[in-house]
Symmetry: C2
Subunit: 196 residues, 2 copies
Amino acid sequence: MTAVPDPNRRNDAARRAILSTAIDLVGEVGYAKLTIQGIARAAGVGKQTIYRWWSSKGSLLFDAFLAFAGDGEAAALPDTGDLAADLKLVLRATVDELDDPRYDQAMRAMHVEIVNDHLLAAEYVLRLDQPMRELKRTRLRAAQRAGQLADDVELDVAIDMLFGPVLNRWLQRTGPLTHDYVDQVVDTALRGLQPR
Amino acid sequence: MTAVPDPNRRNDAARRAILSTAIDLVGEVGYAKLTIQGIARAAGVGKQTIYRWWSSKGSLLFDAFLAFAGDGEAAALPDTGDLAADLKLVLRATVDELDDPRYDQAMRAMHVEIVNDHLLAAEYVLRLDQPMRELKRTRLRAAQRAGQLADDVELDVAIDMLFGPVLNRWLQRTGPLTHDYVDQVVDTALRGLQPR
């Protein structure tokens, strides 16, 4: 038998190469200077190949982030039955991820643009923030059923309180981003600031 | 008697004009394109006048933010004896401030640069974040003495948890920035996420 090239597999490889190139390139040149042309050149494909799959550099970049963050893994938050332990696991992994210069640069480039660009911010909310938020809500709802989270907690406020501090500290470099810090955030958020 | 011009008062007026111009200009052109020359021209003063008081556009801009935020008022956080009420007051005022397009634009311009620029981020931490943080710590220490805040709470974690969500929601536009939202953040942070 002769080896028959599998067009699906070839497409997959090309797609992955393009997404990976986009992450590298946005980290190098920033979002403003990122072009479809530039990504095509760096990935060694034609511009038309890219336009076949993506209508804009924004949607390409968000796919790249989703792929980089690991599509499969991100399908759910861990649920061992221990909410605090699971949240610490996720947040420690986030800290480790942001320690990777490639991811750090790409994420910074995107966040800078989001701060200034309404349309990109809307796409960020729709494609990254909301899907991730829904996974977090699902985990928190399970915690409510398990009696580890108060029933009347506003889930979005809980999410902002658990996941926001890490993002802030990273973006504004207001302090060291360590496992200890995220553990404290989780424990403090769960227990509250008031005396018990 | 003839009116003798008061050089101190004239200096004060010139200083204020320069700071106010810097806020306007950074909102218009962004930090990267902000120049001492441009500020001097827009404020109608000579470049040398600016260099007499500030060594860089960064330090000028941080003075402008401190002046805009109201030097005197920012000397302490309110302390009526009710921690939750005081925090809500401060955070509602922050929300109102960010609703001012002039402030919004200038703050965004600064934050964008902080994300990418290590040196500016260090200046931000030193000149804005740390002094504000110290005021917040002072208020939280008073709350600890009054029995409204647990003694073993890490104050910096508490501050990130109370003030971070508003900053995030504003920068990333992930949801509406309302008085209701900040009230929920304060109540949830104080009470904690666990069932009581």
